[in-house]
Amino acid sequence: MIELKDIYKIYGDGDSEIRALDGINLSVADGEFVAIVGQSGSGKSTAMNIIGCLDVPTYGQYFLDGEDVSCMNEIQLADVRGRRLGFIFQQYNLIPKLSVLENVELPLVYKAMKPEERRLKAMSALEKVGLPDRADKYPSQLSGGQQQRVSIARALAGDPQLILADEPTGALDSKTGKDVLDFISSLNDEGKTVVLITHDMSVAQKAKRIVRIQDGKIVSDEVIREG
């Protein structure tokens, strides 16, 4: 599914260059649940951006489903994001002036799906996260946990194979955080590939495989639980 080969991400040049990623090699198979763990500044967010096709590496190749993403242009990358990836962000990143349903529909809008079909898919995603009755509310009317569930619904709406979760529990209290994590691992049980980025080891323990990043390099990669 994911194949990172000698990925470098270098900011600046000469003496002042910063190697955010310093030769990363990582492969994630279909259906895995991987946590990428590291301190802030370790390069885990850069790794997430590259895996999420939000950024391109300075050197190296990234194959997503066997396709070389590292040499794609902006439009092709947008297409990959829209069709193959689902994002869950720490700050939920819902658009405040759109209703919950419209937020969930958004990735489908960019896939040029018909309005009725869009509505149906978005509603079924909302049902999955248990919030179908909040469809007409606005994000500001929901609690943090509910907002994060809406953003999960949005990530699921397009039915992507890969879910990328960037500190999904960072803004939640431990109880709701646990619920959200349980939900994410239940997605993995259904067959989705999940990549979870976190600095919190206790969160990472939910995953089946933990990859540690430090100073832009992978320092350990262990399978802690068999799928």
Binding site: N49, G52, L54, D55, E74, I75, A78, D79, R81, G82, R83, F87, F89, N93, L94, I95, K97, L106, P107, V109, Y110, K111, A112, R154, G158
Partner: protein, 391 residues
């Protein structure tokens, strides 16, 4: 994402900040309204003027001869012969001799102007006789002291319209009123009803002019007027051999001149109103730039969900175009109402022209798209990671 969805989104964000949207539109509203008001009022004025000229006779050609003395001159008889030779195109030719005189009836005594003409003048000017008759060949030929008066003169001096047979003293000579014209301009002083016609042969004596310098020619139809003008010019040139010695002007030319003048005036005024549209456009650009900055995070989210640069760009361009075209709509409504009101106040029929409306509207949409393009381009170029991190 298609244009329709962009439009729905645009309407949403316009509604979300009504005051800001209205202020942004204001420049466009004023610009569009100004264009429509100015064009319709200038149109109204020029129509009023052209109407005035046309009622003065669109088929008339005025001739002014300056050639003096010697053998090179033209007499009324020459002109009449010329008219008869071209009777297919010319209704008639009449000398017009203006003379300043004293009019006296009983004790009433006034300085005024009388006009000396011949018997064709009635057909040339399409005058309507209210009572009696117009001047005749015999009056002109024998210098009969007769006159045809306008309704103002009749009312003013005789206090009745039926004054045929009465006497009027012109510079001390008794003239018999043989006809009264139908009222045509409300019998006001100084209007077309304030007029006295006498045989031109008498008028030359009163004005102490030896030669007759001005003629009026009527063509059979207004389409022939250019041809008649040419005929007259050729005829006079054959006599004088020098085009500086006479002028030939058609009333229709004056209409053209007015048209041209008003066209220039319209262009200048619309240009000034156009500046307002330009300023309005810059206002839209300004607010769109602010909006792009405010919505940086939203743009990042959309991009992370698969929005392509084109999707983001079309969203902002459509929003700008929607803002300015709504401004255009309001401006059109406001402009149409105001121009009708202004027309009433100024006493002209100011009808908002369809063309002005169409042009103003398409210009306002175009301005929105043009000035929305730059901010939209900026939005579409945002890097998704930077945009997502933006607070």
């Amino acid at each position: 994402m298609n244009i329709k969805q962009s439009f729905i989104l645009a309407m949403k964000s316009l509604k979300a900040s009504k005051m800001r949207s209205f202020l942004t539109m204001l420049g466009i509203i004023i610009g569009v309204a100004a264009v429509i008001i100015l064009v319709s009022i200038v149109d109204g004025f020029s129509n009023t003027m052209i109407d005035a000229f046309e009622s003065a006779g669109i088929n008339l050609v005025n001739v002014n001869v300056r050639g003096r003395g010697s053998s090179r001159t033209v007499t009324p008889d020459d002109m009449l012969t010329f008219a008869e030779d071209n009777s297919d195109d010319i209704i008639g030719i009449s000398p017009t001799v203006m003379a300043s005189v004293t009019l006296k009836v009983d004790t009433e005594n006034n300085q005024t102007t009388v006009t000396g003409v011949n018997e064709y003048y009635k057909d040339i000017k399409e005058l309507e006789i209210g009572g009696g008759r117009f001047l005749q060949y015999i009056d002109v030929e024998r210098r009969q002291k007769v006159c045809v008066i306008g309704s103002y003169i009749a009312k003013n001096y005789f206090e009745t319209f039926s004054c045929v047979g009465e006497k009027i003293k012109i510079n001390g000579n008794d003239y018999t009123v043989v006809g009264v014209l139908e009222e045509s301009a409300g019998s006001e002083e100084g209007s077309a009803d304030d007029i006295v016609y006498i045989p031109y042969t008498c008028a030359t004596l009163l004005s102490r002019q030896k030669t007759i310098s001005s003629y009026v020619v009527a063509s059979t139809s207004k389409d022939d007027v250019t041809k008649v003008k040419k005929l007259v010019e050729n005829y006079l040139y054959s006599i004088f051999d020098n085009s500086d010695l006479y002028t030939v002007t058609a009333v229709a030319d004056l209409v053209d001149t007015v048209d041209e003048l008003m066209g220039t005036l319209t262009a200048i005024l619309v240009g000034i109103a156009g500046i307002s549209l330009l300023v309005g456009g810059i206002g839209i650009m300004n607010i769109m730039l602010v909006s792009v900055t405010e919505r940086t995070r939203e743009i990042g989210i959309r991009k992370s969900l698969g929005a392509k640069p084109w999707d983001i760009m079309s969203q902002f361009v459509v929003e700008a175009a929607t803002t300015s075209s709504m401004g255009g709509f309001i401006g059109i409504a406001f402009g149409c109402v105001s121009s009708i009101v202004a027309g009433k106040i100024l006493g002209v029929t100011a009808t908002p022209s369809i063309l002005a409306i169409l042009v103003a509207f398409s210009v306002s949409v175009a301005i929105g798209m043009f000035f929305g393009y730059f901010p939209a381009k900026k939005a579409s170029k945002l890097n998704p990671i930077d945009a997502l991190r933006y607070d």
